[in-house]
Amino acid sequence: MAKHIWLCLLFTILCSTVESVFEDQVGKFDWRQQYVGKVRFSHFDNHMQSSRKVLLATEKNVFAALNIRTGELLWRHVDNIGPEGNIDAFLQHGQDAVLVVGNGRLLRSWETNVGGMNWEVVLDSGSFQSACLVGQQDTVKYVAVLKKTAVSLHYLSNGHQKWIENLPESDTVDYQTVYSGGNGEVYALGVVPHSHITVVAYSVEDGEIIKQITVEAPWLNNIPANCAVIGKGMLTCVDSVTMSLYMYDLHVQSRMTQILLQSLGLEVSANFQPVLVATQPNPARTPLSEFLLQLGPDHYQLLQLNNGQIVTLRDIKPAMLVSFATAGEKTVAAVMSPKNKTACSLNLFSAETGRRLLDTTLIYNMDPNGGKPDKLYVQAFLKKDDSVGYRVLVQTEDHTLTFVQQPGRVMWTREEALSDVVTMEMVDLPLTGTQAELEGEFGKKADGLMSMVLKRLSSQLILLQAWVSHLWKLFYDARKPRSQVKNDVTIENLSRDEFNLQKMMVMVTASGKLFGIDSKTGSILWRYYLDNIPSNAAFKLMVQRTTAHFPHPPQCTLLIKDKDSGLATLHVFNPIFGKKSHLTPPALPQPILQSLVLPLMDQDYAKVLLLVDDQYKVSAFPSTKNVLQQLQEVATSIFFYLVDSSQGRLSGYRLRTDLSTELIWEVVIPPEVQRIVSVKGKRPNEHVHSQGRVMGDRSVLYKYLNPNLLALVTESTDLHQERSFIGVLLIDGVTGRIIHEAVQRKAKGPVHVVHSENWVVYEYWSTKSRRNEFSVIELYEGMELYNSTVFSSLDRPHAPQVLQQSYIFPSSISTMEATLTEKGITSRHLLIGLPSGGILSLPKMFLDPRRPEIVSEQSREENLIPYSPELLIRTEWFINYNQSVSRVRGIYTAPSGLESTCLVVAYGLDIYQTHVYPSKQFDVLKDDYDYMLISSVLFALFFATMISKRLAEVKLLNRAWR
């Protein structure tokens, strides 16, 4: 019993010593940025005058509401990633937003004020085509959903199905659009390509087919692209071959009338498919009889249907983007046209007359480091004098959202490219001028005592000067009111802080936009848009030169590789300023298989980057004479490996002195049984402080610290729950020797692996017990070290001792990473991204294969926690407290100048940056250090000694008198 109590006590002590966040630290060194992704559909919430939100449905399967004044998220709903969460359509009516999700699988209605769901219904299977709101007598009551084979009508209030009807001849007719003009009928429009259009009209009341018409249209194959309903049910199509408009009245059965564009005086640009843009401001009423016809990439024509005749209202050219917007009863067309190279101007045109509205010009300044405008969403509103005012939301090619107000004031911008960060690095900030001067003093060669003394004095003087100016600034700022003092971080005043806690985060996004973000505040300091990035590109970011080599600028290289062709390009840039380097990277005509950064440096202190192409030839960047010479010297000790997951082959190569390569080993994993999922080496910047562990009996168990060790994870191709397995192979990357092999039966992926020091931690799903499990493998050399000065893979005769232990984890995980500190003295934690949005900091101590089942005196001496099968998730261990991070994709850890502190960035849909202290802040005074107490105690002691001294004197005097 006593033992049990002791165990509990030990456990609670251990738990309480583990770091966590204090409430007053909130926001002190951490920040979160929430994103939604590239916008697919957007609606302004216009149903109330006071309403201030814009609703966005995005390609990341996110549905969110933004505050229109600030651009901040009001609420956000993150659906499943992949096709089952895909948002197909977004209809808005009043405060209800109706979404069709998952290729027409679900129909969902959201209450936009609260952000809660009204209802969700499952639709019958069948691929989704189109959806529209259906109204009657000026009120919108229903939603019509058109599928491949059926059309259904649902109540807007509760989602219940009013009726569902099969579409006639759905095997031949391709139904594409559903339309309702508010007259009690729902039209399903289908086409038999190159033959005819089928129009089926249903009664809203009971779904009965009122009429079914086929119209000859041999030129048509896609209704949404070419046709629109205009005015009182006039189906209008444009044909690019005959250059004519075809019109057909849905109410009157007749033939299609053809109007040649030429007869209207219109001309289509060469090789351009004209597009019709119509607008239906109120779904319970017919669409407007005005519409836009796009005749060329930058040429639009505003047309009107007047008594069956087409009237041209206005020729709009040049126009990049055009959009309709409605305020009250007035509908306007907003037109964006290029002004000069860096700016665009927007103007409003009255849809009814085509006249340009006065005082409606808005200037939109384009970011020179951004993309071109891509989409335009217009919020129109009536001003007090009944004129139309507007604001626009512009989306650019690089997924930036900018909300602009007249006459061109940017209210907010959102960099939605950051919702898809692929890879990142943290780069030290440069030193300030004075710091660099000081550093320079030590760097230079000593030249005589006197000059050294003088130098010392001068640099001391510079420091004094800097300090005085700092004090002066403090004093000056103190006189100003608080609000005016801004500590804005700009690129100019960036400098490294005392403990190197502030760094530059270089983030690479899938859209090809690069960002430089200040890690302290999260403000974006530079952005650079790389256009013409292939859509399936893989990125690898490498730091070739850090800021440590002062006169030389820091240098990062981004390798962009097309996954299909394997062809790659290099982008070399300065990570602090984001500017493209003047260095011309080598052209890479061959597909690249592998890239490696060597610790070798050229005469300008840039690390050498080796690129291996598909002919197994190696090229170096930079490839100066100096570099090639160095390479020749060390070529025999450069090894690398290649992975071919399709053939299940892992092969090791050696570099020859003539920069050709030589295959030295190969491990083949039969791809029909298992496939390679990931290969993880150790991080090159990792330090291990202690080479062994002190046991309870004071002997030392030495760690097996092989820097060349690779952890290879395989999953079985057989996914049956009885036969599936995962395998972990530990392979020496130089010799190809298999150090250890572990197989987990009745387990399947996804497998998350962390490989560091002398341990590998992996997580998998146990199909037998239906739970997530962690397993840890630790490697030890034993009680004696073979060669303590240097580790060589070629000379290690003894196989390491392998210890393994597994644990149950009560949640699935999204990603996993280990903390990293400067010298590796601090104990390690695992940072685990959970689907709930928390980032758990789990001490590695809990994943220790030496955790004993029976507690002994020795294990107690070693501070080993007794084995318990289940790992706990304690919310106190969440480093991001309630700042949930959605869909964490990766966690990046970087050491800081303080040994106790590790910088952490979690990225996914959101970005979260914080500091963690795995062993608490042992090297700096804590935040809550009580200066008052310590000084008051000091003073009290001082006075106490004074008083007691006086008393003692008096006493001595008294005694002397006696």
């Binding site: 992975v643 090159p684 580790f791």
Partner: protein, 241 residues
């Protein structure tokens, strides 16, 4: 303790001049393991209601999600706190309601291939154990999440109750009070005390630190000790007079 190793090992760690760079692999590490979707297998729905006592539903539903087996299936909360997760094939799932503010216990839901539903307590260790829960699910929040540690606040009671302070204060009291109670000048008493001190010392072979110290500073300390003892001795004498 937290630093893992107690003895600093001053080993010079020289890494072999061999570089194995990380690979530029085309391997997807994401959750690509195919969930075998049955082509015409029946799909079912999990229904339930979540309650946060004392909090209006509008205040928390917008940030809540229902996660079925991690993020494999996702559901959302209705404005009244009820939820439905649609489109789930038969199987056994852990259903969790996730909000940043409130804590809900996860529930395991078993769906047979015929669509019979059963809810039970999640037990990862004894996975076959069945403790039934009501279905449709009724999940009640068990309070707010605790994310923060309490700062150690400083108070007089904490200070006084501190073991270190206790250890300092008690001997002080003994030093002050003991001479008044027992006469230390008595040689018999002294002998007895020395014996009891030896009893307290667990390891007689180890040199006692205090003894060492007294030996070292015996020359200087001796006089002061004598002085102090004499002063202590005189005080009662004064009173007696």
């Amino acid at each position: 303790m937290m630093l893992g190793e107690r003895t600093p090992l001053l080993w010079v760690f020289v890494q072999a001049a061999i570089v194995v760079a990380s690979c530029f692999t085309d391997i997807e590490t994401g959750p690509s393991a195919g969930v075998s979707t049955l082509p015409n297998g029946d799909r079912f729905k999990i229904e339930g209601r979540a309650i946060v006592p004392g909090v209006k539903t509008q205040d928390w539903v917008s940030s809540a999600r229902v996660l079925v087996e991690g993020e494999e299936y996702v559901g959302f909360m209705r404005t009244d706190g009820s939820f439905t997760v649609n489109d789930i094939p038969s199987g056994s799932y852990v259903v969790e309601i996730v909000t940043p503010a409130y804590k809900f216990e996860p529930v395991r839901v078993d769906i047979t291939s015929k669509g019979k539903m059963r809810a039970r307590v999640v037990n990862y260790i004894k996975t076959s154990e069945v403790i039934r829960l009501p279905y449709p699910l009724q999940v009640r929040a068990s309070g707010a999440h605790v994310y923060f540690m309490k700062r150690e606040t400083w108070g007089w009671t904490d200070f006084l109750m501190n073991p270190m302070v206790m250890m300092m204060v008690l001997p002080l009291l003994i030093i002050v009070l003991l001479p008044k109670v027992v006469n230390t000048n008595d040689p018999e008493m002294r002998k007895e005390m020395e014996q009891s001190m030896n009893m307290l010392n667990p390891n007689p072979e180890l040199p006692d630190v205090s003894e060492l110290m007294t030996k070292l500073f015996s020359g200087s300390k001796g006089s002061s000790k004598a002085g102090s003892s004499s002063s202590k001795g005189t005080r009662p004498a004064v009173k007696r007079r």
